[in-house]
């Protein structure tokens, strides 16, 4: 009975984590829980979970490289339901990180291991943007339709 659709209300999770791989599973849990609450199918939820995980993992790798490890600044992940879809935003501070997971070019094949993350993200979500927020810095925003 507790698994019924939620009635409404602002369904949003914000999560700030240290820039480390070990916190990826909280991010995945947050995606899974938000999806469960907003009646997303198990399969769509798993796809969004993977897309968000791939983005965070790539950002963590690049940001740690740049900062030389533990100096890297935290990530802010915001997940919310938005008219007919789920939006995930991952904010980070400092200069823009260029990485293949965002390029639609790299997303065309699964041949190249480095481009796999990119392929996953583009295969599993409808919209991928890398935008600048005046207050919170760079943001990778993806949207999955329900």
């Amino acid at each position: 009975m507790q698994d019924e659709p939620r009635s409404g209300g602002p369904e949003q999770i914000s999560l700030q984590i240290p820039c480390r791989y070990s916190y990826l599973r909280i991010v995945r849990q947050a995606v899974a829980d938000l999806c469960a609450q907003t009646c997303v199918s198990e399969f769509k939820a798993a796809q969004l979970e993977m897309a968000v995980d791939e983005i965070c993992a790539e950002l963590i790798e690049k940001l740690r490289q740049r900062a030389g490890g533990d100096g890297a600044q935290p990530l802010l992940v915001i997940l919310r339901r938005e008219s007919g879809g789920i939006v995930s935003e991952v904010y980070y501070s400092g200069q823009k990180v260029e990485f293949p997971a965002l390029s639609a070019d790299a997303a065309k094949s699964t041949e190249d291991a480095a481009a796999l993350g990119s392929y996953v993200v583009h295969r599993f979500v409808e919209k991928v943007e890398h935008v600048r927020d005046p207050e919170r810095g760079w943001c990778v925003r993806i949207r999955k339709a329900l």
């Binding site: 995945r28 979970e49 291991a113």
Partner: protein, 115 residues
């Protein structure tokens, strides 16, 4: 979600890696180490028991495919068994079920190596 554990079960003509937890960027080095050990010992018949696996990242899938290719060049293979519906669905959507052999249970995978 638990931390990933990888347990290796060595049989006469093949090795089984029992996975438990998530294969993500955090546990990736552990997967790499396990696969490296198999390569170094020239063990090319490998079954991945995914019964306890609750997540797999693209990098991990890439590492498995790389291992499978190399194992095939050496007359072996890497096969997956007991994927959850959720993970099978992901693997299928990414088209990896055409690259990697997948079996429902350990026995059929073991038999496929014997054949």
């Amino acid at each position: 979600m638990k931390q990933c554990r990888i347990e290796r079960e060595q049989r006469e003509n093949l090795d089984i890696l029992h996975l438990d937890g998530a294969l993500d960027a955090y546990s990736f080095p552990r997967l790499e180490a396990a696969l490296r050990a198999l390569r170094e010992e020239n063990r090319n018949n490998v079954i991945l028991d995914c019964a306890g696996l609750d997540y797999i990242s693209s990098a991990s899938l890439g590492a498995l495919i790389g291992f499978a290719r190399r194992a095939r060049e050496n007359g072996g293979d890497l096969k997956l068994v007991k994927l959850s519906r959720k993970i099978y669905n992901i693997v299928e959507l990414l088209g990896f079920h055409k690259i990697l052999e997948i079996y429902p249970d350990l026995e059929s995978a073991v038999r496929s190596f014997a054949a």
